[in-house]
């Protein structure tokens, strides 16, 4: 194996040395419980509030609007269930608007609320992988309790028009939540300027550890608790604070949000070179709009190729990547994101996501461009579907 390329930063990232350093004192030194009154506890409490302030600053929020959670999924669950149930109780509102290609942490939460009696509108996603703000507006009724639209899609990397959607929701007085797990550090976010009421984020996509996240809740937005218990997080989220990881999250956020411009400037040419190179492969397709796209996201379908076998062959060449094929999802259907943008099943099975971060280099891109085309060729040479495509028995052209 000549090289190792980690091209799955949208799945998770390594903890950075600076983040690890920021975390270590809390395991052995400042280990007090922030709820304790003595010095060691109060020292921990002060560090907790320091971390809260750092995260708030990164988002343009107030410290008291930041709540630490265990992960992005918890933040999504809390924001959506907490807000919807509060809106139902207070105003009798029982309608939620979301999009068809949200992360499962949002989609399955909405489905759970449907079982409680809520009505959910799943807005269609267009072929470019973008939600249309005017369609959000058209879906709002006097019963709408919440709009939840992701900031950037985790598979195809498309960046949604969040400020426009935020403005519409604000004008209609409807709370607006966004899952920004993929967007943090890649897109400038200011919750005040962008009219965001609730925002979910996760640490492990930004070189913080797994198991820590946060939820921004604008002052005045009513939220029912998800986790009852002690008075932590101002009585809204019980459980002794995971201070080491919270400190890690804050350090990672500070680094990620203060270097967005550099990151975008460094990753964009890498991304574009890879896209241009892969588009030279016959019957390949870039999924998602090219312009409104995360700087580190490349997502392709290759006709006649199945995603899991592609991933296995890449792994044998030292490359870690992901796919939306059914075989990698553990279900019979390929990714709901790819189906939502209108790809037929047979094409969606042949998808490949390559996602890059701070530790990738242009040499990684060159290596991928060297390794991927022959793998596609090899898999196609043994693919009866490719044979059928070449002989015109199967035709996916309308979609490509």
């Amino acid at each position: 194996m000549s090289r190792r390329v980690y091209a799955d930063n949208a799945a998770t990232t390594a903890v950075s040395p600076q983040v690890l350093e920021a975390m270590l004192p809390f395991y052995t030194d400042i280990y007090g419980n922030p709820s304790s009154l003595y010095g060691l506890g109060q020292e921990a409490k002060a560090k907790l509030e320091e971390a809260r302030e750092t995260v708030a600053q990164c988002l343009g929020a107030k410290p008291q609007e930041i709540f630490f959670t265990s992960c992005g999924s918890e933040s999504d669950n809390w924001a959506i269930k907490g807000c919807a149930r509060a809106q139902l109780k207070k105003h009798g509102k029982n309608h939620i608007i979301t999009s068809a290609f949200e992360h499962h942490a949002v989609l399955h939460t909405c489905q759970a609320l449907e079982k409680e009696g809520f009505t959910v509108t799943y807005l269609p996603v267009h072929k470019d992988g973008l939600v249309r703000p005017q369609e959000v507006e058209a879906a709002i009724t006097d019963k709408t309790a919440l709009v939840t639209i992701m900031y950037a899609n985790n598979e195809i990397g498309t960046i949604q028009p969040i400020p426009e959607i935020g403005k519409i929701c604000r004008d209609h007085g409807v709370p607006f939540h966004t899952d920004a797990v993929q967007a943090i550090g890649n897109v400038p976010i200011n919750v005040k300027e962008q009219d965001i009421d609730l925002l979910s984020l996760s640490g492990h996509k930004l070189h913080a550890p797994k198991g820590v996240g946060a939820l921004y809740v604008r002052l005045g937005v009513q939220l029912q608790n998800l986790m009852d218990g002690g008075a932590q997080e101002r009585g809204k989220r019980a459980g002794t604070e995971n201070l080491a990881q919270i400190a890690g999250l804050a350090a990672a956020m500070k680094e990620a949000c203060s270097t967005i411009e550099e990151r975008v400037a460094r990753l964009t040419p890498m991304r574009d070179k890879l896209i241009d190179g892969l588009l030279k492969i016959e019957r390949s397709r870039l999924n998602g709009d090219r312009e409104h796209r995360l700087p580190g996201n490349v997502h392709f379908c290759f006709q006649g190729v199945e995603g899991e076998s592609l991933l296995l062959m890449l792994d044998m060449q030292g490359i870690s990547a992901s796919s939306g094929s059914a075989c990698t999802s553990g279900s019979l259907d390929p990714s709901h994101v790819l189906l939502a943008i209108g790809l037929p099943h047979g094409v969606a099975h042949g998808s490949l996501r390559l996602s890059f971060g701070d530790y990738n280099t242009m040499e990684d891109i060159d290596y991928l461009l060297e390794v991927i085309p022959p793998i596609i060729e090899r898999l196609r040479a043994m693919s009866p579907l490719w044979d059928s495509i070449k002989t015109g028995k199967v035709n996916y052209d309308p979609y490509m």
Partner: protein
């Protein structure tokens, strides 16, 4: 997804892979919607399958089960080839993850489809020998 070493070996170095130009029978099972298609070619002399090859669009397990199945029927009589079960293919591969069992069924079906085609070309009704083929046993989807 944990594959056995044998599965990975047959995936990385598939046996009897590729199109066969002159064959006695060919069968194709599965469909693109489900994400796996197997095509099996056989060459028959007398009662014996003297050569076999496959083409597969599918996951690692689909490619490995196709490869293993071809090895298991090469040089065998048609009657013996028809006795090959998906379970035997799985055992020969030191097992498959539960969600991949259908791949081995597909391999068994692909052999039957190739034999059925052979019989049909001979002007013989294949049904008494191979039974009714289920193209895609693991789901009810259409191509």
């Amino acid at each position: 997804m944990a594959y056995s070493q044998k599965v990975m070996d047959h995936f990385a170095n598939p046996r009897n892979v590729g199109e066969m130009k002159e064959y006695s029978g060919v069968g194709e099972v599965g469909n693109p919607k489900c994400g796996d298609i197997m095509r099996m070619y056989i060459k028959v002399e007398g009662d014996t399958i003297t050569d076999v090859s496959f083409m597969t669009f599918g996951c690692g397990a689909a490619i490995a089960t196709s490869s293993m199945a071809t090895e298991m029927i090469k040089g065998k009589t048609i009657a013996d080839a028809l006795k090959l079960t998906n379970k035997a293919v799985m055992e020969a591969l030191d097992g498959l993850p539960p969600v991949k069992v259908h791949c081995s069924v597909l391999a068994e079906q692909a052999i039957k489809a190739a034999v059925a085609d052979y019989y049909t070309r001979q002007g013989i009704d294949p049904t008494p020998f191979v039974g009714v083929l289920t193209d895609c046993d693991h789901c009810a989807c259409e191509a």
